[in-house]
């Protein structure tokens, strides 16, 4: 038994590893298999599904297998840990199962011109990441896999794109889900800080503690932002329709069972931790309700069948979200059941639309009519899936819709205004009914457009549209069969997948049975009402279209997104122009002004008395004259700076004055060095400036010059104060004392200046000499160059 347990635990790891390894091997295997590489992906997905099935024993026994390694950062609660409770396991089964079907379909769908191996590689990578999301045992792992699904879906969606519109869509999808993902990361970080763990089971066990924590609301909001962006919930729903430009198998996989479902999956994951709080109910349910209505309404406005499906997905996800928000046992059951049902019929619908597109070359519902004559099998399969979506009895959608109504009605006892919920629910379902009929009846019945029958030009199939080969029909047929089977005889799936899944979402085992016939109850009446109203509206649908055109709201979330993006780009552009204008003058301002401010603050804190020296040494008249000359000369440099040569000469005068100053302060060596350096600098300057125009053009306006002068004065004053502060401070060990004491015993000389130059700073002096030498060499080289040039002339 223990051995069996270990085996099943390892199987858990292999569920993710098999698609991953298969994906990595795809480029190599592709060389051997060639066109048939799709079957490699089919096999990998099948193995993953099979491994999950092999785990069913321990899942059903309520003893979920756990596999974990101390990696990558266990000290921080980050370890790769997988576990298969009913929820993750059931979801994983759907992912791997539909993944298998999609691979079969894609193998037949793709034309030979498309790079198959790479497509299937990305598809398997994505599948692996998605399985990682559903099987992760801690939130950190979940988030990492979550981001990986975003990244790999970017590869999948982006692979085909040649049109501007499609690129825009792929980018938008990644940006919105990526931003949401970061919000989720922040939420997980907060959870870790608050609770000290990210382990989902532990958090579930300590749900009360989480809910009582003062950070509950920020945590909830951040996590929900991740959920809502990923699952395209209002107001973030607008990215999904634009992401639909991917090839149909990709849309079918990403937008029926996986990518967007990751959001509601997480909602189910955190359901036992968060449910019950008022904030949870109001935020989740209201957002779900808004999304459901908006999505269904939007679906009717679309003429492209795939866009219609996109909006219908948004709407269905809204329904599921709405249910999870209620946080009751029945709602959890209804939502969970509907997730599985939706995955089946929506994948089927996507694949049918793919077939229609493949055969006729168009997805426009205004053109597509009466196709049942040409493609009867497709029509039947589409009918099953569409009617399941509409909620017609004997199909799976009906059962979950009944549960949905039951839950909505159950709350009406709390006051008359609670009827709002069932009313809206019926409204949403009616719209769903209408667009489902459009998909089935609209496309496959009515008068066949003769143009369609004969036009082979734009069709990707060969000749007249007809039912495709078994490879594309079989996956749809299997999905349709599941819809039927669950709808008529819900016993099997209930025990096998739904039971453990609902138990996991609710937090403890739930006792329920799903029956086709409940008797004449409120939900049934609402269902009948839905069907009748739906039929009437479908019959009068051209009027609905008129109303919709008149109601067309020009200002949607998309407009805001576009405007925000444009504003961001324009705004940052202006900021860049202002800051990074390429001029050193303004760079200096930006860099030095803050320094002046901080310096002022530091000095100001200290107080005047400690900066201003208590006493100054007396100033001899000669020194005063010298200082005055120095100031005048420096100002003159500024004044004449337009004339290059004059400015250099005046600058030389400043240097000479400084060296005289050194002389007065009895430092003849320093004075000498300074004089030499001045001389060489002037020579170098003159030699270089000879090549340049004589005067500097006026580059700045009067205002700019005033601004620059302000900075110069400010910086000068502050630096002056800093220097004064040295005189005021009691420097602990004046260095002069050291030289005075050490010059005789260590240097063996009585002239301290000499000893310093030759002994203590011998290397320094050597360095100075070297610098002077190199500078002189440079000057010499420049002069020689000039002479050679003149000789040539």
């Amino acid at each position: 038994m223990v051995g069996g347990q270990i085996l099943s635990v390892m199987n858990l790891m292999w569920v993710i590893a098999v698609p991953l390894l298969a994906a990595l091997a795809t480029p190599l295997v592709g060389r051997v298999l060639g066109r048939a590489i799709g079957w490699w992906a089919v096999a990998a997905s099948l193995v993953a599904a099979g491994l999950l099935v092999s785990l069913s024993g321990s899942v059903h026994s309520g003893n979920p297998p756990v596999w974990s390694v101390e990696w990558p950062a266990p000290d921080w609660g980050m370890r790769l840990a997988l576990y298969a409770d009913g929820w993750g396991w059931g979801f994983g089964l759907v992912v791997a199962g539909i993944g298998t079907l999609i691979c079969i379909y894609a193998q037949h769908y793709l034309s030979d011109a498309e790079p198959r191996a790479r497509f299937f590689m990305y598809l398997l990578l994505f599948e692996s990441a998605m399985l990682g999301v559903v099987l992760s045992a801690n939130l950190v792992g979940l988030v990492i896999f979550w981001e990986l699904t975003s990244a790999t879906s970017f590869l999948l969606i982006g692979f085909w794109h040649t049109q501007e519109r499609a690129r825009y869509g792929a980018y938008k999808a990644l940006l919105i889900t990526g931003l949401g993902g970061l919000a989720l990361v922040a939420g997980v970080v907060l959870i870790y800080l608050a609770m000290g763990t990210t382990d989902i089971r532990e958090l579930t066990a300590r749900a009360g503690e989480v809910q009582a924590h003062p950070w509950f609301v920020p945590i909830l909001v951040l996590v929900l932002l991740g959920v809502f962006t990923k699952s395209a919930q209002f107001p973030f729903h607008f990215w999904l329709p634009d992401a639909m430009t991917a090839p149909t198998p990709v849309s079918a996989f990403l937008h029926s069972a996986t990518m967007v479902k990751a959001g509601v999956f997480l909602l189910g994951r955190i359901h036992p931790i968060f449910r019950g709080r008022e904030e949870w109910f109001w935020i989740v349910s209201s957002v779900g309700m808004a999304t459901m209505l908006l999505g269904a309404y939007g679906a009717l406005r679309k003429t492209d069948l795939k866009a219609l499906l996109a909006y219908s997905t948004i709407s269905q996800l809204g329904l599921i979200t709405l249910l999870y928000g209620f946080g009751t046992q029945l709602a959890a059951l209804a939502a969970t059941f509907h997730i599985f049902n939706h995955a089946a019929f929506k994948a089927g619908l996507f694949l049918t639309v793919g077939i229609v597109d493949h055969e006729t070359g168009t997805r426009d519902k205004r053109v597509l009519k009466g196709l049942a004559k040409l493609m009867p099998i497709t029509a039947v399969l589409c009918g099953v899936c569409a009617l399941a979506s509409a909620g017609v009895p004997l199909l799976n959608g009906f059962l979950s819709k009944e549960l949905f109504y039951e839950e909505m009605v159950a709350h009406t006892g709390r006051g008359w205004w609670w009827w709002w919920w069932p009313a809206m629910a019926v409204g949403g379902s009616v719209l769903t009914f209408v667009y489902s009929l459009e998909l089935f009846h609209g496309v496959f019945f009515g008068k066949l457009d003769p143009h369609l029958e004969t036009d082979h030009g734009q069709s990707r199939g060969h000749g007249q549209p007809h039912d495709p080969g078994w490879g594309m029909l079989a996956p749809v047929a299997i999905l349709a069969a599941i819809c039927l089977k669950v709808g008529i005889w819900p016993g099997g799936i209930e025990r096998y997948i739904l039971d453990p899944a609902v138990a996991a979402v609710w937090g403890q085992p739930v006792d329920f049975t799903i029956k086709l016939w409940h008797g004449f109850t409120a939900p049934l009446i609402l269902s009948i009402l839905t069907a009748i109203t739906g039929l009437v509206i479908y019959w009068q649908r051209h009027r609905l279209a008129d109303v919709q055109t008149r109601l067309a709201w020009p200002f949607g979330a998309n407009t805001i997104y576009d405007a925000a993006l444009k504003g961001l780009v324009n705004g940052t552009g202006k900021l860049t122009d202002a800051l990074q204008n390429g001029r050193l003058r303004s760079y200096l301002w930006l860099a030095l002004a803050p320094v002046v401010v901080v310096l002022t603050l530091i000095l100001g804190r200290e107080g005047w008395s400690r900066i201003w020296p208590a006493q100054f040494s007396p100033l001899a008249p000669a020194e005063a004259v010298l200082l005055g000359l120095l100031i005048v000369a420096t100002l003159a440099v500024v004044a004449v700076n337009q004339q290059r040569l004059t400015a250099v000469i005046v600058l030389g005068a400043v240097g000479a004055l400084v060296s005289v100053f050194y002389l007065v302060l009895s430092a003849p060596d320093l004075a000498l060095t300074q004089l030499l350096i001045e001389a060489i600098t002037i020579i170098l300057f003159l030699l270089v400036l000879w090549q340049l125009p004589k005067s500097v053009p006026a580059l700045s306006t009067r205002g700019e010059r005033f601004r620059d002068a302000l900075l110069a004065v400010g910086f000068g004053v502050v630096m002056c104060l800093v220097v004064l502060a040295v005189a005021a401070a009691n420097v602990p060990k004046p260095v002069a004392d050291f030289y005075e004491a050490a010059s005789l015993p260590r240097g063996g000389g009585r002239n301290i200046v000499n000893v310093i130059l030759i002994d203590f700073r011998g290397f320094d002096t050597l360095g100075e000499i070297t610098v002077l030498g190199i500078a002189a060499l440079g000057a010499l080289a420049l002069m020689k160059l000039r002479r050679r040039k003149e000789d040539r002339r």
Binding site: A73, E147, A170, T576, Y587, V726
Partner: protein, 495 residues
Amino acid sequence: MTPVPYCSIFTALTPVLILVIGAFVALTLDIVRLRRSTMTVRNRTLGMVSILALLGAAVALTRQFGLPGPVTLLGQTLVVNHLTSLFNLVIVGLTILTIVISMEGDVGRHVGEYYATLLFGSIGMLLLVSTEELITIFVALELTSICLYILTAFHKGALRSQEAAVKYFMFGAISSAFLLFGLSYVYGITGTTNIREIAAQTTSSTLLSVGLLFTVVGFGFKVAVVPFHLWAPDAYEGAPTPVAAFIATGSKVASFFVLVKLLFIGFAGMQGTAFCYKFSSGWTMLLASTGAASMILGNVVAITQRNIKRLLAYSSIAHAGYVFIGFVAATEFGATSVLFYVIVYALTNLGAFGVLAALANRAGGDDMEHFAGMARRAPFLSVLMLIFFLSLAGIPPLGGFFGKFYLFAAAVQSESTKFGLLWLVILGIAMSAVSLYYYLIVLKHFYIIDGKDKSRIQTPVYLNTALAAVAVAVVLLGLFPEQVLALLKGLVAQL
């Protein structure tokens, strides 16, 4: 003072000596033997000579791990311990990669000078890492900087390169002035140039605050944080791409490393606080404000860039801001997280610049438009670019994610009663979200947009291999971050 055995001195100095010899060999070889050879031959030969010298230095550095203990020469002028040896190895590795990138590109007519200057610059960085003495810090920093100014101007024909070099030099000169002024004040107050002795004598005084401020400002210029960053975009764009890579990686690694030593050891007593509820003066406050400004401005302004090198310049400004979060934590773990991040950052950026350098010549430029449809023209390098950019954006499980994670964790942990530094962490996460936008725009050009030119781009195998090795390192840092962190932690504890 215990005497240091000669063989230890030798082991400590060999890496630098080998590089000096290598630089002169490269110079001489170019003048004496390669005068008449073609550009490609000169470039390849001298590149190989430089790489040999660097490999020799690397071998010598690995020998330092066998030393019985830290070696200290001339009163902390040169301190060799395992941490410095490790970072010296990192710098040598970065220099090797820079040279590999250069060998493919256009480095102008003065090939010998180019490689010699590059090696001298790397010597400056090695010395910068292994010193604990203010004057040597300044000299080493100048050695590095002056080499980088010269290298920036190496596209002699291009006006942009000249302009970039002048701007870089002007700013560099100002920053050196600040740094020297600051260090001289520190010396004046404490009476020592030895970092550890400074720490022992630190008494808070206005002048020391001024010294600290000027030191931080000086380094602020070197690592390009707001508001001292303005040279970076112009320099990166104008400089030859390998040089931009070297400025963005090697010099940053060395500067951040020495800043860690200066602040965490030398100014340990003057950290102050930067909590949201209490600001008190000290270097954490300075770094928190400049870091926050860098994260905001770097990321926001990067959005509008069309030139990828410029974009990387702004992104590196933002990354310097993230690094400062680790400093502000002011704990041993904070220092460790800074060092971890710097390694990840340098590898990732060098990889990104490498891909740019490899493709830019054949793509016709380094604006985004030139890279449209690159995923089909150069699929291998595009995958590498994907890895580097996702790591820069901090997407798990790449190295960049854990780098940021440790920085943020250090900040949260350092004050975990009221989470005083949470404001910086939240800002960091929010700005990472912004950064995702522009990193993705680049990837969008590589992967989604179709370019006019669809011809395949062939790149030499050695270049692909080197860049792939960097990518593998970035992935491994993401896969085994804990091991690397533990290693760094152990070494930092000995510091």
